[in-house]
């Protein structure tokens, strides 16, 4: 699980779904949650939260051009690679933090991912969970 601290910057809600923008240690991130400020008190601008996402939900792009609907695009450098038969686990450096990604080994081979590569990590907004910081 990736867990990054941040602060809520923007909220836009329908009746029960909200899109949030969070300033985090790895840049601006977006999340869609089935909550609003009314149903979850901590969903307020300025509140400190953790942004959680599974490593398996982090896709990797190299030399990407064109348009993509994913709102979370985080530039990173590949720091470590651990290849299994089916799955490969990558540790990516982003600013002062690291995030983890698990992709198929087939993709890792086709993309020729190497340590030191500049890549973009992609995470869909619906895969991001917010957790209230218990100390804030």
């Amino acid at each position: 699980m990736n867990k990054i601290a941040g602060k809520i910057k923007y909220i836009e809600s329908s009746d029960s779904i909200s899109l949030l923008e969070i300033d985090t240690e790895i840049g601006g991130m977006c999340a869609v949650v089935v909550e609003t400020s009314e149903t979850a008190g901590y969903l307020k601008i300025g509140r400190e939260v953790y942004v959680l996402f599974k490593e398996i939900e982090v896709s990797i792009g190299k030399n990407i051009s064109g348009m993509l609907s994913m709102r979370n695009k985080i530039p990173c450098t590949v720091k470590e690679i651990k290849k299994g038969k089916v799955l490969t686990r990558l540790i990516l450096k982003c600013r002062s933090k690291t995030i983890k990604s698990v992709i198929t080994t087939k993709s890792a081979n086709e993309m020729n991912v190497n340590v030191g590569d500049e890549v973009i990590a992609f995470i869909k907004t619906n895969e991001i969970t917010l957790m209230e910081k218990s100390d804030g």
């Binding site: 699980m1 089935v34 599974k54 290849k83 299994g84 799955l87 983890k100």
Partner: protein, 288 residues
């Protein structure tokens, strides 16, 4: 129910002071959660009148049972309490039916039949306790507690001596009894999933004091999370599979497998209680 009591107990290891303040709506199920020696059982004994607080106030169902400022202290037999213990405490020489009838203030055959049916013991009515299983014994103890037509049900770790399946059956039984009678119920429990299943409110007690109170999910899920699909369960196994771990979690009667990162399973071991959460976007719904 309102309880505000103080009591200093002298023990070999020094004095223990109980200083409890609990207030809850009538007809709800609450859990008293805490380590052994934290004062849980002492509190139940004080409610039942088996132990007199030094000072304070106990009110159940709108009736004052104890008020040190007005010298009110109803004896145990005047307090309408149904008490169930971990070790059942049945009379060995009496049959199931006699054990239950013993709890009654006056003979009431139709209520006795009703209770036997409620806890599914009609067939075993003439049996002696030593011929019964643990679960059956505890059902007798429950029926005997209800036979008094109590205002409050006190359950002191009632299910902790039973195996998982029996415990689950008895939890259903307790929920059924609560729906039927709507009694204010105080359960002392160590069991995390039991607290979630049975009670609406939890008081965590440590060293004779309430240190936390709230709904089970507020008490046991330390951080609030926006995931909409959340279950509590117990870790059955953690297996490494090359780059990831596969954690099997028992949720109710189902085993759920969750893919986890090495860092996520650090410090996690078999038997740990966990929350399995995912977002409302992820699950499929398939009609069966």
């Amino acid at each position: 129910m309102k309880i505000k009591i103080k009591k200093i107990l002298k023990g070999k290891k020094g004095n223990f002071s109980l200083d409890i303040n609990i207030s809850t709506k009538d007809n709800t199920v609450i859990t008293i959660f805490g380590k052994s020696g934290s004062g849980k059982t002492t509190l139940l004994r004080a409610i039942a009148g088996l132990l007199q607080p030094d000072k304070g106030y106990i009110e159940v169902d709108g009736k004052v049972w104890f008020d040190s400022s007005k010298n009110i202290n109803l004896p145990p037999q005047k307090r309408k309490v149904g008490f169930v213990f971990q070790d059942y405490a049945l009379f060995p020489n009496m049959t199931v039916e006699e054990n239950i009838a013993f709890g009654m203030e006056k003979k009431d055959t139709s209520f006795l039949e009703y209770l036997l049916e409620l806890v599914s013991l009609e067939e075993l009515r003439d049996r002696k306790p030593h011929t019964l299983s643990g679960g059956q014994k505890q059902r007798v103890a429950l029926a005997r507690a209800l036979a008094r037509k109590p205002d409050i049900l006190l359950l002191d770790e009632p299910l902790s001596a039973l195996d998982y399946e029996t415990r689950k059956g008895l939890q259903d039984e307790l929920l059924k009894i609560h729906r039927e009678f709507g009694l204010t119920t105080v359960i002392v429990s160590h069991d995390f999933s039991e607290v979630f299943r049975l009670s609406e409110f939890v008081f965590v007690i440590d060293k004779g004091k309430v240190i936390k109170k709230g709904k089970p999910e507020e008490i046991f899920i330390q951080e609030r999370i926006s995931g909409k699909v959340k279950f509590s369960g117990t870790v059955l196994s953690i297996e490494e599979d090359e780059t990831v771990f596969i954690v099997s979690v028992l949720i109710g009667n189902n085993v759920v497998k969750v893919i986890a990162d090495p860092e996520e399973v650090e410090g996690l071991k078999k038997g740990d209680n966990v929350i399995v959460a995912t977002k409302a976007f992820s699950p499929f719904i398939l009609k069966v």
